[in-house]
Subunit: 346 residues, 2 copies
DNA sequence: GTATATAAAGAAAGCGCTTTCTTTAGTTGA
DNA sequence: TCAACTAAAGAAAGCGCTTTCTTTATATAC
C-alpha cells in the first residue's frame, strides 16, 4: 500500500542497505548518493515504518506511564512534568499513559494497577514510570524487576524496594509544619489524616506525632481523626473536634482538600481563621490549580508536582542508559504561608 | 533474547502457524493442540512481540491524541473522557497523547500542532483525535485528509472542513446566556471576550451580539472589550467598564477565568454581586476543578468536557470501522445558575 | 605497474510474527 | 473398498526494515 524503503532504493538507483544507511546516518555513503536518496525521500514523503524499525532495533520508543488520575491537579501536574521532560530529554520517545481512573475501591485500584503494568510490559515499553497513590505490591515489584525494564516510581513510600524512586519527605515536611504551630504556642493541635491505608498518610501523621514528641506534647487520641480525603469529611471533623470538652487551638489536615472542607465549615460557624483557630493543609494543589487566586488562603506544604515528574524522567533516562545504581531522590517541599496560623487565644 | 513464537511451537511440538492460530483464535486447531500451546505459553510467560504483530497486521494499536494542555481543567477532563472511552470501546488501542504545552505564542503553538500531527502520522496511528483551541490550518487539514487516517476534531469551529467534529454550540449558548440577562431587564450589558483570534471567542461574542439584536438593543463599542483570558484582565476590564460615564449593569465574560478576575476586583471595590452588578462566565471549569466548593459562585455555561472526549472516541470508532460519512456532533451545554444575575438596579 | 588498505555499495539473512498455499489426516458416503 | 470431502496441520513466503558479510570501486604506497 504505502511506499517502502525498497521503493526508495529503486527510485534512487541504490540498494536498500544504502537507503537504510542514510536514514540512520550510519556507515559510509557517498555524498552524491546520500543527496539522491534524501531527495527521493523528500519527493515521495516517505517515512519508515516504525513497526519494522522497532522489530529490528528491539525497541518501542515508548515510555509507559501509569498515573493515578487524569483530572486531579496533583497528578496532572506530575504528568505534565513527565511529558515535558520526555520531549526535551528523549525526543524519540513517546509517553504511553494509562490512568487508574477515578472510580472503584482500593482493591480494584490495586488490581487495575497490576493489569496496566502487565499491559505495559506486554507492550515492551523501553521504560516505565509509575505515579500512583497506592503502594506497589510485592508481586508487581517482582514482575517489574524480573522484566528488566527500567522503571521509576514516584512517591511509593520511604523504604520502598523499588530500585529508583523519587518522592518528597512527607514526614519531615509534616514535622516542620507542626513545629510552626508549636512555635506559635499551640499545644492542643489536632490532626486529621488521610486514610492510613496510604503510605503518605501515615508518613505525614508520623511527622505530626514526632513534632509533638520533640516538644514533649502528649498526643491525645481524641485529637487524631482518620479522614477520607473528602471535602465533607473536612467539615465533619471540624464539628467533631470542636465539640470536644477541651477544644484544639489548631487543626492540621493531611490534605488540602479536607482543609478546605474545614474552612467551609468554620466559615459557616463564623469562626475566624486564624484568630480563633489555626489550620493547615498539605499538597499545595490550590497553588497549581486553575483558580488559585479565588481559593481561600491556607497554610500548606507545596509538593512540587511537575518537578517530581521531571526528576522521574531524569532518573529513568540514566537507568535506560545503563546506570544500574539504586537511587532514591527526595524533592524538597516548600511551606506556603498564607497566614492561617496565629498565636492561640488561650 | 526473549522467547518467541518459534520457541513456543517447538516446545509444544507444533508448527509456528498453529501457535499463531491459537493466539489469534483463527483457523482450525484441534482442542488437544490448543491446550498444549496454551499451557506452554502460560508456563513460559510468553507474549507476542507487538512490533512483529503490527508489522504483519499493518496496525499500531495506537490512537494519537493531541491535547491543548495537560494541566487546565477543561482539557484534562476532555482527555479523561477520551481515555476512559478508549479503554471501554477499543480495549486493544492505546492513547498516545501529546500536549501542546503551556508556553509560547500563538504562532509557535500552531507550529507545534503541525509538528505533533506530523509525528503522529509518522507513527502511523490507527486514529487521531485533536483537541486544541487553535483552528486547524488548511495545510494540516489537507495533510490529514491525504493520509487517510481517521481523525476527529474536538471543537475547531463551526463550519470546519474536518470530516468529523464534535463540539458545543458556542453561539447558541451565548445567545441564551445573554438573553437571561436581558429577560431580567438588563439593557446595558458589556461583553469581555477572549482573544478573537480564537474561533470559540468570536462565536461566543457573536451570540452576545445576536441576542442584543433580537431584543433591539444597540451594541455599544465601549461595552465590548477584547481580553486575553487572564484573571488580571478580568479585573482590569471591570475597572475600565465601571469608569464609563454610563456604566453597564451586567458584564458577561468569554471565559470563567476572566469572570473570576472580575469577581475579585468587584469584591475589592465592595460592589456586591448580583445586587449591584450581574456577571457571568463561560466554561464551567470551576465545576470540574478540585476546589469547586471553595470557588465563589458564578453563572456560567457548562461545557461537558468529558462528554466531548467520549463522543470524539465514539465518532472515531465508527470512522475506524469504515463509516465515511461526514459528521458534526454538537454536545449540549448547560446553564449553571449560581445566582450572579439579578434584576438591574436602575 | 602491482600490491594493499580503505571507502562505498550490494546481497542476503533475519527480526518475530501472519497468512496463503499445500499437504496430511480424518470422515463420510456409496 | 475407494472416491470425495472436510478438518487440521505444516512449509514457506513475506511484512519493511537493519546489519553482517561480501564484493567492488577508489585511494595510497612502493
Amino acid at each position: 500500500m504505502s511506499i517502502n524503503l525498497e521503493d526508495i532504493a529503486r527510485l534512487a538507483g541504490v540498494s536498500s542497505a544504502t537507503v537504510s544507511r542514510v536514514i540512520n546516518n550510519t556507515g559510509n555513503v557517498k555524498p552524491a548518493n546520500r543527496e539522491k536518496v534524501l531527495r527521493v525521500i523528500e519527493e515521495t514523503h516517505y517515512s519508515p515504518n516504525p513497526s519494522a524499525q522497532n522489530l529490528m532495533k528491539k525497541t518501542t520508543n515508548t515510555i509507559g506511564v501509569i498515573i493515578n488520575s487524569l483530572v486531579r491537579d496533583h497528578w496532572t501536574h506530575i504528568l505534565a512534568g513527565i511529558d515535558e521532560r520526555i520531549v526535551e530529554l528523549m525526543p524519540t520517545q513517546n509517553a504511553l499513559v494509562m490512568s487508574l481512573g477515578s472510580s472503584s475501591t482500593q482493591e480494584q485500584r490495586q488490581n487495575l494497577l497490576s493489569q496496566k503494568l502487565a499491559l505495559l510490559l506486554r507492550k515492551r515499553c523501553d521504560g516505565i514510570i509509575i505515579a500512583v497513590s497506592n503502594r506497589l505490591s510485592e508481586k508487581d515489584l517482582s514482575t517489574l524487576n524480573a522484566s528488566s525494564v527500567p522503571y521509576v516510581v514516584i512517591q511509593d513510600f520511604k523504604g520502598s524496594a523499588a530500585p529508583r524512586r523519587v518522592g518528597i519527605d512527607n514526614t519531615k515536611a509534616s514535622v516542620e509544619l507542626t513545629e510552626r504551630a508549636i512555635r506559635l504556642g499551640h499545644e492542643r493541635i489536632a490532626y486529621v489524616s488521610s486514610p492510613l491505608y496510604y503510605d503518605y498518610a501515615s508518613e505525614r501523621r508520623d511527622g505530626y506525632l514526632h513534632a509533638l514528641k520533640k516538644s514533649c506534647i502528649k498526643p491525645l487520641p481524641d485529637y487524631m481523626v482518620e479522614g477520607d480525603n473528602s471535602f465533607e469529611c473536612g467539615s465533619k471533623s471540624v464539628l467533631q473536634l470542636l465539640s470536644l470538652p477541651v477544644k484544639p487551638t489548631a487543626i492540621i489536615f493531611g490534605t488540602d482538600r479536607m482543609a478546605f472542607g474545614a474552612i467551609h465549615q468554620l466559615n459557616e460557624m463564623h469562626l475566624s481563621i486564624p484568630e480563633e483557630i489555626s489550620i493547615a493543609g498539605f499538597d499545595g494543589i490550590a497553588e497549581l490549580g486553575d483558580y488559585h487566586s479565588m481559593v481561600p488562603p491556607l497554610n500548606t506544604v507545596l509538593q512540587p508536582a511537575e518537578q517530581l515528574g521531571v526528576a522521574a524522567v531524569d532518573l529513568l533516562y540514566s537507568a535506560m542508559n545503563g546506570d544500574t545504581s539504586k537511587q532514591s531522590l527526595t524533592i524538597e517541599t516548600r511551606f506556603i504561608d498564607r497566614h492561617t496560623f496565629a498565636v492561640p487565644r488561650n
